[in-house]
């Protein structure tokens, strides 16, 4: 009987050890509900830019991100998106994908300043489709480019007042680009998807 108890204890210990040593399930940043999130811009992002070239991009942000409002930081306006804000940018294979065509890649910004991999307070992630593997970028390629969002740049309202925009090119209410068209911007998109952006 004693031997059985010892064996059981050993087995439980081994299982607990195996569980403690097992790799943790990776966090999924691109939530399955992300297609229901509102877009951050009405601009049709089908023009070529470094990094994505002329492939269509559609950025969406969770509701938490839309609560961000600019605050005065001296003479400068400052945007600080709340922690757990997630922006998912769909990247399509071409500038004008066919109706119903799925994106080939998702690039994700997840606000998580406590994560040691965070750069500028954000995790920079790519999710290759269709295999669905998410990879956190440890290089500085993404942030180097997105740092331009915090100064004058050629996109949206061009940030002429050089607001600190927390590395986000298209912040709510600062969109003066071309409106999205049903045929080109997003297959099956509707105007209501633009979260509060007129």
């Amino acid at each position: 009987m004693k031997r059985n108890r010892k064996g059981l204890a050993l087995a439980i210990g081994a299982v607990l050890l195996a569980l403690s040593c097992a790799p943790k399930a990776p966090e999924v940043y691109a939530s399955p509900e992300y297609p229901t999130w509102a877009r951050t811009t009405r601009t049709v992002l089908d023009y070529p830019i470094p990094g994505h070239m002329n492939r269509l991009r559609i950025p969406r942000m969770n509701a938490l991100g839309f609560t961000a409002t600019p605050l005065a930081d001296g003479d400068r306006q400052r945007w600080d998106f709340p922690e757990d804000t997630v922006i998912v940018k769909e990247v399509y294979a071409s500038a004008k994908p066919a109706a119903g065509e799925r994106p080939v890649q998702l690039t994700i910004m997840a606000k998580d300043p406590k994560d040691p991999r965070a750069q500028g307070g954000w995790l920079w992630i790519t999710k290759d489709l269709p295999d669905g593997k998410e990879t956190v970028f440890t290089g500085n390629f993404c942030i180097t480019c997105h740092a331009n969002a915090n100064e004058k740049h050629p996109y949206a309202d061009k940030n002429l007042k050089e607001e600190f925009r927390d590395y986000v090119f298209f912040v709510p209410g600062r969109d003066n680009g071309r409106p999205a068209s049903a045929s080109g911007a997003s297959p099956g998109a509707t105007a209501s998807e633009y979260g509060g952006v007129p």
Binding site: P50, M53, G139, F141, T144, N148, P154
Partner: protein, 487 residues
């Protein structure tokens, strides 16, 4: 203690081997891990500085480029190199061509701006070929990846960084949006001196470690040989000597530790053993056997041989005591030797008398042979013995064999009628004569010659006994003249 080196050498080798292996494996691994960690840390620090340098340069170039002052960047690179000759900074286009080697970029910028804002330069000389290092492709790819690596070239060591120059959104106004990476900054830092210093430190540390290990092994080995192995070897040799019957060996020690205690205990033990060994000369073999076996007194069959020097009393009167003792000891020693040679056991010496007994099937035969040999010895060594000879009596029968005496002092001896008979027969025997009882004569078998039987009236015995004279072929007259009776 001489002749102990082989064993000591083996032990010393083992101890030294254990020490060296322990130090080499234990300390060596820790030291190696520490050294590896140190090198890795140093490399990491160097990389971090190089990365920081790359970032600083990137920022500088970016700021040169925005206002269209690329030539300033060229000057900046040259000045950095002049200040620090060990360093080199180069800028390559994405296709691997050296930047500023021609007017391609100026033409493209002017096209993108729709105006000839920048004037093509003249007299541009390409002095650097495109990098052939494998990391360059990754640094120029989309997405680009920074590359840091170490390389040796021309007998010198370098840390090298490929830092991608990204076509930032703000750069696209001039450079266009059709590419992601504009070029690669190639930063090379000379670390030859550091690498050489590192090698020297490692070699010195390794040599120092080897020396320290060797010295420690030697010192500890010598210490152990002196304090532990030497005394233990000596103790072993002393014990081996004792096992071989040599008791003169002692362990010389002055230490007051456990080894010293052991040595002193061994010395005490050897002294005790030596004392007991010496005492065994005064104890019969049967006594020793009984002590070993812890035998209780028991009834056994034995053949008793008594010998007694004839005319000894008168001899002592006419000779000095020293001579008496000398002759008696020689006579007793010769008899004892003969008895032992025939498998007999000396029970005791009583003055000039020997009491001995024989056991096993041919006990009587061997007793008789002993008696014959003693008689012949006495006959042949009359001069040395001053003419002394012995009379002998042999009887066989059941006796009690065992410890007799008190708890403080006891003898292991034989008691019984056969003992008394043998003693009486010895008393009857003349010099050189052997008187044997019928039982012993019968057991001795046909190989011996006896004369008799004679009827002998023994002291303390009511009936006369039938006795025989063992012929020793040395003195027929003496053998035939038996005072105990007539055949």
């Amino acid at each position: 203690m001489a002749g102990q080196s082989p064993r000591r050498t083996r032990l010393a080798i083992k101890v030294n081997l254990i020490l060296v292996v322990t130090l080499a494996v234990g300390v060596g691994l820790i030291l190696a891990a520490f050294a590896a960690n140190l090198i890795a840390s140093r490399d990491q620090i160097t990389r971090r500085f190089l990365k920081q340098e790359a970032n600083d340069l990137y920022t500088s170039i970016e700021n040169f480029m925005i206002p269209g002052e690329a030539p300033l960047a060229v000057k900046f690179f040259a000045q950095v190199q002049a200040v620090n000759p060990g360093s080199r900074i180069l800028l390559f286009r994405q296709n691997g061509n050296f930047a500023f080697s021609d007017n391609t970029t100026i033409s493209r910028v002017n096209t993108n701006l729709g105006t000839a804002k920048f004037r093509p330069r003249e007299g541009i000389v390409t002095t650097v070929s495109m990098p052939s290092k494998p990391g360059f492709a990754q640094a120029a790819a989309t997405p680009p990846a920074e590359r840091f690596f170490r390389e040796d070239e021309g007998g010198r060591s370098y840390f090298r960084a490929y830092r991608p120059l990204i076509n930032l959104p703000k750069c696209t106004v001039c450079h266009g949006s059709d590419h992601t990476v504009r070029g690669v900054i190639d930063i090379r830092s000379d670390i030859t001196d550091e690498a050489r210093g590192q090698t020297i430190i490692l070699a010195g540390a390794g040599a120092g470690f080897f020396l320290v290990v060797s010295l420690l092994a030697f010192v500890i080995g010598a210490f152990l040989r002196r304090v532990v192995i030497g005394p233990v070897n000596t103790i072993g040799l002393v014990c081996s000597g004792v096992a071989a019957g040599r008791f003169e060996g002692r362990v010389a020690t002055r230490s007051d530790d456990e080894i010293g205690d052991l040595a002193r205990t061994v010395n005490t033990m050897v002294e005790g053993l030596e004392e007991r060994f010496k005492l065994t000369k005064y104890v019969s073999a049967g006594t020793l056997g009984a002590l070993r076996a812890g035998e209780e007194p028991k009834r056994v069959t034995r053949t008793l041989l008594f010998t007694d020097v004839r005319g000894f009393t008168s001899y002592t009167e006419g000779h000095p005591p020293e001579r008496v003792v000398e002759v008696l000891n020689a006579l007793l020693d010769s008899q004892a030797r003969i008895i032992h040679e025939n498998g007999g056991d000396i029970d005791k010496f009583v003055g000039d008398e020997i009491v001995s007994y024989f056991q096993d099937e041919d006990a009587s035969l061997r007793a008789c042979r002993s008696a014959v040999a003693i008689a012949r010895f006495c006959a042949g060594h009359g001069v040395e013995s001053d003419g002394l000879s012995v009379g002998m009596g042999i009887a066989s029968g059941s006796v009690i064999l065992g410890m007799v005496g008190s708890a403080r002092r006891a003898d292991y001896t034989v008691i019984g009628d056969a003992v008394n008979v043998a003693s009486r027969l010895c008393s009857l025997a003349k010099a050189g004569q052997v008187v044997v009882d019928s039982g012993a004569k019968s057991e001795a078998g046909p190989g011996l010659s006896f004369k008799g039987p004679f009827g002998a009236k023994l002291k303390g015995k009511e009936k006369p006994r039938e006795v025989w004279i063992l012929l020793t072929s040395t003195d027929d007259d003496a053998q035939g003249n038996f005072k105990g009776g007539k055949p």
